[in-house]
Amino acid sequence: MTVTQPQPVGPVLDTSVAPPGAKKIADIKPDLLLTGEHHMCPGCGEPLALRIYLEAIQELGLAQRTIGVAGIGCYTSFSGTMDVDLVQALHGRAPSVATGVKRMKPEAIVFTLQGDGDMVNEGLQEILHTAARGENVTCILLNNGVFGETGGHMTATTVIGQRTKNSLEGRDAEYHGYPMLIGDLIAQIQGASYVARGSVHNAGAVARTKRMFKRAFESQANNEGFSFVEVLTMCPTGWFIPTGDGPDYLQDTLAEIHVMGELKVDGVVHNTEQLVAENTRKAEEAAAAKARDLADKTGA
């Protein structure tokens, strides 16, 4: 897949300083992030999820009562850069650790940050039991269908056909088994009140996912039980593709199987057909908006 490069016109503008007479509407990084610098690969999707859940916490006014529990993966490097009290857990164990934190600090907003290898491979039992207990915490899954940190190995969410270092010809159901659709599974659990699967492969998806985070944290603040936000994230390194191809690859492979949308709201499960219809409508809207923007550029 090759991405067609836009061809902007006109001179290169000075973007080293704030433009005079303009008002700032979005900051370079969230207030709850100590630094934007990190050692993630170019084109990685994980920092995008980081930005929006930190912004969501801040915007909901929950910043001074939030405690995070991080698993082990590439995103572990954010443990030191999030300006949020944090417990560094072991691979797979974050939901149990979060349970202990929440039970001793019921007034706190407690979230976990885990990848698919951490949550769906190593710690499947912990996430499912935590959901079933209706533990009033928010678990965040950064799902890229691959062990990024070890260098691109198959996880329990790797989709059929996906090439990894231990599924060289692509994941083959007969040999490697089928991927787990963890969000769909959790949506079926009674203790789960809010379950959503977002993505960060384009700006619209990022904005939608940020709303999902807000709903999840709100549901925790209202003591509604377990909430879960899965975010499909780009891992061009572990997918062995050019960085710029990440968003399209995500859309065409991961998102085909791990269908985006709100899987459960207020205890009501939404089925895959509903989500697919919704996603198609959103994609059409985005294309129309882009065409409007292009036309508007010269329509002074």
């Binding site: 207030d31 709850l32 100590l34 630094t35 801040q58 910043a63 001074q64 009562r65 939030t66 405690i67 529990v69 443990s79 030191g80 850069t81 999030m82 300006d83 949020v84 009290d85 944090l86 417990v87 560094q88 857990a89 072991l90 164990r93 939901p95 149990s96 650790v97 979060a98 349970t99 202990g100 934190v101 929440k102 039970r103 001793m104 600090k105 706190a108 907003i109 039992q125 912990e126 039991h129």
Partner: protein
Amino acid sequence: MTAVDTRAAAHLMEGSEAIATAAVAAGCRFFAGYPMTPFTEVLENFAKQLPPVGGVCINAESELEAVGMAWGALSTGSRAATGSTGQGLSLMQESFSEITLAELPLVIFNMARGGQDYFQSTRGGGHGDYRHMVLAPMDIAEAAELTQLAFFLADKWRNPVLVYGDYLTAHTQQSVSIEPIDFGPVPDKPWAVNGELNGTGNSRIVSPLGFAKTGHESVGIERHLRRMQAKFAAIEKAEVRVETGYVDDAETIIVAFGTPAKFVRYVVAQLRAEGEKVGFVRPITLWPYPYETIAQVSEGARSVGVFELCGGQMIEDVRLGVLGRAPVVGIGGISTDGSGFGVGPLLDVDIIRERILAIHRGGAQAELPPLPDNERG
């Protein structure tokens, strides 16, 4: 006028109840565990006792989850504990390693099946350079006291402490009175998470990896691990606890810990009354181990016997203490009841007496009487 006795009245209670009661008296407010004989009743008692004092007891879905939950509770600064049998603790070892490196004051109860978890308790099955203090009560009254001490030591050193009991500790009854014991001040917990400093640049991180938040000095994993070693060395200096009896002129020294030590103590006292020059050493802390005491008492001894209900685990530490000053011989052995959960017929004063006398009379080379078989033969 009669003085009012303010001490808690003594009650006849099972060891598991005494342990939970003592833990709650020490301020423990969180417990998570998974039922497993003979530990199950400890969990039951926590489930009964914690909610009325505003605490939480979770019947975890597995041992892995139980220890994880305790990890989270500890991170908030609460006193918290978990436990199981040695089998269940095997499942928790990965977390034990990391909790130790995260310097969290976890208290762990092992109600061991048989008596075969000495290596697990003192060496651990977890990864890396880590150490737990291990307290081995000989009976229920001591278990209640050491349980409270465990919470104190854990906070004092920011290090896990394991209380090593067994079937008899958990399942027999004794008359005990339990009231909070003041062991002295413990350090504050400025590291405990609560979210209040978020966004100020001073938020906290509880990490086993030596991580600090951006803007704060990060010690890094190597220096962190070296600091841990310095702490372990300080604990080794400060926290050895051991009981000795009749050792000054003893020709034969018997070393035993936990429930079997209570039997050994009794038998040694009996033999002394009969004029036999035997003595005993009872390590109360299995780590740090009383190597120095063992070294001193073995100086003039003809032989050192180790009575433990296993194939020979603590004997390695005894040898390290004796360091060739006297021959060291194991006089215990594997002995369980038919279920494998409880203790076997070897834990019997007459049988122990015969075995002590065998080496006392015949020296370390003496042939020991055969081990008794359990009811299943």
